[in-house]
């Protein structure tokens, strides 16, 4: 029995498929695991390690670099209060104090009811509505103490369940078009492009050569006529080459 559910596993395998190297899926898989468990459990780390082909220690070490990946349990709601410059200028630290009081815990802690974890966040890229707060990365701007209290009430009462999913759920929209182009197909496509580019280059070179030849022979009228005929021939030949090339790559193109 794996720790990650069948559905999570399915999605995880699809994510791994998206990248030329499985390891690239490491962070997205950590997000997926957080979506299932709310945080990054040791069991999930072990399975992610297997999926991307590195050791669990490496997954843990990588995950610990990133603020959004929690290797310790957190509340259902992670409340990030931005205290960076633009928010600070508009009262973020006063707001943070209120948040701590209201939730009964300090920065890094979780409220006694286990629902809310408080973070003192860096700029959330929402400075036009400072001071701002993100709950599970859903943004609320122009937050006053009063509005924060109302927000907490709404969250507790479940009135914001649609807007603010439980912690860990990041992207609720699943990719459904993209897998049409698998890693193999991308590689084939890239090869085809390289061949097309090489063919175009060769055609260009041949044309330039023919032109040069034509210019050289321009002095002798008789010879010039011959050269022009030869150049035409060369163009035609390359046109045919290109068509052949295009045919070669078609199986890759039509692979979907």
């Amino acid at each position: 029995m794996s720790h990650l559910s069948d559905d999570t596993m399915d999605r995880a395998r699809q994510l791994v498929e998206l990248y030329p190297h499985p390891r690239s899926a490491l962070v997205p898989l950590c997000h997926l695991a957080q979506e299932q468990d709310g945080w990054l459990t040791p069991e999930a780390i072990a399975e992610i390690a297997e999926l991307v082909g590195v050791s669990p220690a490496e997954v843990h070490g990588t995950a610990s670099f990133y603020d959004m990946l929690h290797t310790e349990p957190v509340g259902r709601y992670v409340v990030a209060v931005c205290t960076n410059i633009a928010c600070m200028l508009r009262g973020a630290y006063e707001l943070l104090e209120h948040v701590e009081q209201r939730l009964g815990t300090g920065v890094g802690g979780t409220s006694p009811d286990g629902l809310f974890t408080v973070e003192d966040a860096e700029c959330l890229a929402d400075c036009g509505r400072a001071p701002c707060v993100a709950v599970n990365h859903r943004f609320f701007g122009d937050v006053t103490a009063q509005r924060f209290d109302a927000l907490v009430d709404d969250l507790v009462a479940g009135r914001l369940d649609d807007e603010v999913p439980p912690h860990g759920t990041l992207i609720r929209v699943r990719r459904h078009g993209g897998l049409r182009v698998g890693a193999d197909q991308v590689a084939a496509e890239r090869r085809a492009m390289a061949e097309r580019a090489a063919a175009a280059k060769a055609a260009e070179a041949a044309e330039a050569e023919a032109e040069a030849a034509a210019a050289k022979d321009a002095a002798a009228e008789e010879a010039a006529k011959d050269a022009a005929a030869a150049a035409d021939g060369a163009d035609e030949a390359h046109g045919a080459d290109e068509a052949d090339e295009a045919d070669d790559v078609r199986p890759a193109d039509g692979g979907s």
Partner: protein, 434 residues
Amino acid sequence: MAITEPPKIVTSRLAHDDSHTLERFLATGGYEGLRKALAMTPAEVAAEVDAASLLGRGGAGFPAGRKWSMVRPGPLPYLVVNGDESEPATFKDHLLVERDPHQLIEGVVIAAYALQVAQVFVYIRGELALGLERVQGALNEAYEHGAVGRDIFGSGFSVDIVVHPGAGAYICGEETALIESLEGKRGFPRIKPPYFPAAIGLYGEPTVVNNVETMSNLPWIVAHGGAAFAALGEGRSTGTRLFALAGHVRNPGVYELEMVKTTFRDLIYAPVLGGGILHGHELKAFVPGGVSAPWLGPEHLDVPLGQDEVAACGTMLGSGSIVVMDHTTCALRAAWRITRFFWRESCGQCTPCREGSGWLEKILWRIESGAGREEDLDLLMDACDNIAPGVSWPPQQTTICVLGPSIPSSIASGIRMFRDELLLHVKEGACPHG
């Protein structure tokens, strides 16, 4: 200066609530630029971008056309789009990914075509949950619409786009750290040279990295021609640009303005823009281009919003974010908060950056909390000098990336512009602003 009314290049749809939908996008000329591009040769598309002289909008301001010319003619293995936006006070890409994701996708496919790329990764800051959902949703629609995927609009050109979420680390905005992160590793910037990932990028292959706003300009450039874009602005700063205005202003927000034709004074005070300082207060200082940039004061209000014009003042337009501080602002506290950010976000690879940021943060906090000493200001400047010798702008770099050398910006600005105030802070053992 009168504020010009240039065409809206990247914000044309934002007046509509449904600007993110495919329906609205198609009803307002969406994917027309792409159709036009696909009827041209890749070289012709690249030539238009070159003619536009579009400067990268991610902060460094490197011309996109020139970056592309390093890898053209393709095919290029990878194109990576930088949507990691985490420079404090920068919030323009957030707007673009949430409110016009199809425009971004259209720009990305145009770039992919010009560079002959089959695989694109769009790296979006993990905290932008709605933005990630909007871009993924738009991408699903775009695949179905035939604008991404195989044989786009019957042109024979195919490209796959993958949306990749970050997970909270400012440093991953630095392009080589972003590539490491995309490879599933910790976001440690790579040692330069090579100066661009063009040579050795993702998975060791040639890669172009461009910013979200840079990409979002491409549909308009192709539709209207590079020359029309270059006709806007002045000198090297062409077209329009998104300016993110925050802090003590009446109307904070993102404004699309013609480059160079608007000044800081217009942006901060014009009723249709910033609307002036909050509560009718006086301006004390402002950050001109993200917190990595040295500050400017009221005497710089008439400097035009252009790359070279701002650089001439010893700072940078950077990420195009302006933070306004009124006369009640404690310069020390502002410098402390910015320094605290760098300390928290330093990746720790380079000693001057890792240790220096910690030292600076502690000294600043000591003064702020009333336990400062006379010699602390010199100590601060010394520590800054260790990170960026000479403490000038652009900075001398002794570290792997420019996060380190950006740390002194706010501290040196605070000390140079408000030395007396800082000394008073030390002497009175308390903030003169209360």
